[in-house]
Subunit: 358 residues, 2 copies
């Protein structure tokens, strides 16, 4: 079976690593000249708006999936007429537009930070009046890794925020003083079976995920699964979905969904019975899902901007390194490491050592 | 770093799967037009005797390793003058010639079945007189997966054996009525550090490995490690080495060595902290070795001749499938599955189900 992936970055690369042993071949559609997944399949270079190229792509593959939610909705709708696309257009439309996403949260009774749609400066001022400050002004579409966001702490910030983001369709969200950031990854098969991974506990810095660890037997596991389950069923979802949540006291607030494999689930490669990448592929190709249970403790640390020295890093026993084959550039994710340990004590010790090496 | 691999079969393919996340690139040297590792790197097509092509290959890579021991010794010697080759020429010379291998066993005090060199029919008859029947007549070089072997059960078999194998340099070995076939995999770093994996217990059928399972806490672990350690040190070995052993009562007899990653260690991908493939690469590139410890129980079943139905197979939770991208052909290894289970009871149950599906 030939799987077409929109996007040829590290998520596409890791999908291919998981899929080659299952006998799948990959075609990556990406406008970049040399995306990092390319060595693991065929690369078709084209814009997401180029219908001639997209139609050639669709005819070359048996089904299409994507590694990021900023693919234009029209691109997915167009491809869907030629070949199956998983997750479907509905999931992408929801995850690719923050306003629609938040409206779906509301519709499904999923608690989320207060928000208002903002398309003009007067609307922004009105929204601040209603939901208060601090708040985050975000573009409705195309944001990722903290890009397309501006934190408003006082009325003084409004001018600068508007200079940066005015002109886009925006959403103003209440900035939540959370106790913990977590994410739940679920996978849903074509037959509607759903499995969840143990929660991930996440630490972001400057909008970019730095550190995630598995949290087996988390007290919030069941509550998080219930929220993700509502989305998976409502969107008639096929594949892996990540739901990012803020925990405030005993309340979970939905932050955003990612209709794809997710950075906070990279520890599943070593730490879970079946990785998120393999389960995404199993789901979209109609194969039975694999077990999501874990043994021991896992943590993922992202390499941002540069690759650390491998000799020093791999001296830490129990560590696995995943480089993405990307050139180093400030702020860019160029790889990650997963630390796995059977016991909680040696895990904590290992995490400390690992963080000191980066 | 660019790693050159002699041979582009499934072992090379799985080496590349383990090496891409470490940032390595691969060039596979193989005379076949379309070896199954090719999609994971560059393929250079050439004969192992073609010095012009070999020298181009050596200049393209930072170091060379190999996935099978039937590479001509001269090829390795030639390459070694241009670029580092691990494991070294001495290891290959030993493993690639059954007479030399058995002489090394003898020299190091490693117990092994009785053997005699045989180059003529009178020598064969004399050897049978000395070591008795049943016995196995084997070609000194180029044998694998039961090829180049003939079992002599009575004097009546001598004629047919000679028709098939006469003309080759041969070894006659006593056929051992063993209680168990096991293998021990060790990895030795450039600095001389050695780590061992828990033993594998193996079942062969018609000379081809069908089934291997990890045997943690095996009573023979220490004895097997001592034998493998003698070889690793004597050969100044760098990389993964497999030593296949027959157990007869409480005695271990060396059957043969494989100077490479080995089919009986495929379960290490899912079942060990660091797979044999990653540890081979870490060793030959001078990186620190990774932990070889295991959790739970693992078994590998080979797919011989044909690929089983994936939907049925993956319905068995805890199973991982590795297809090699090779065309189906009678007797050919086209893939394997690894079953992993935390508890011994569910593992046994899973093994039964798995074997019933093949």
């Amino acid at each position: 079976m030939i799987i077409g992936v929109l996007g040829g970055g590290q998520l596409a690369r890791m999908l291919a690593m998981a899929g080659l042993p299952l006998g799948f071949d990959f075609v990556f559609y990406d406008p970049a000249p040399d995306p990092c997944a390319a060595p693991l399949g065929k690369h078709m270079r084209g814009e997401y708006s180029d219908r001639i190229m997209l139609s050639r792509f669709a005819q070359r593959v048996d089904l299409v999936t994507y590694e990021f939610e900023n693919v234009p909705a029209e691109c997915i709708e167009f491809l869907s007429q030629i070949t199956p696309v998983h997750p479907g257009a509905q999931a992408l439309a929801c995850a690719g537009d923050r306003l629609r996403e938040k409206s779906v949260f509301q519709e499904l009774g999923i608690p989320a930070p207060a928000f208002r749609a903002v398309d003009s400066l007067p609307e922004l001022n009105a929204a601040i009046g209603e939901i208060g400050l601090p708040a985050v002004l975000k573009t409705r579409t195309l944001g990722y890794d903290g890009k397309g966001q501006f934190i408003l702490r006082s009325r003084d910030d409004v001018g600068r925020a508007w200079v940066m983001l005015g002109g886009f369709s925006l959403v103003l969200e209440s900035l939540v003083a959370f106790d913990r950031e977590i994410s739940v990854l679920g996978v849903r098969s074509q037959a509607g079976e759903i499995l969840y991974y143990p929660l991930s506990e996440n630490v972001h810095h400057e909008g970019v995920l730095r550190f995630s660890k598995s949290s087996p037997q988390d007290p919030e596991q069941k509550a998080a699964e219930e929220l993700a389950g509502k989305l998976l069923r409502h969107l008639d979802y096929v594949g892996v979905l990540a739901l990012e949540l803020f925990q405030v006291g005993s309340t979970l607030l939905a932050n955003e969904i990612a209709p794809r494999v997710h950075n906070s689930g990279h520890w599943t490669i070593e730490g879970a019975m079946t990785s998120q990448f393999e389960n995404h592929l199993r789901a979209i190709t109609g194969l039975p899902l694999g077990k999501t249970s874990v043994t021991g403790h896992s943590a993922v640390v992202n390499f941002i901007g540069r690759q650390p020295d491998l000799v020093a890093l791999l001296g830490l026993r129990g560590l696995h390194v995943h480089l993405y084959g990307k050139a180093e550039r400030p702020g860019r994710k160029v790889g990650h490491a997963t630390l796995w340990s059977r016991s909680g004590a040696s895990f904590k010790e290992g995490c400390r050592t690992l963080l000191s090496l980066l």
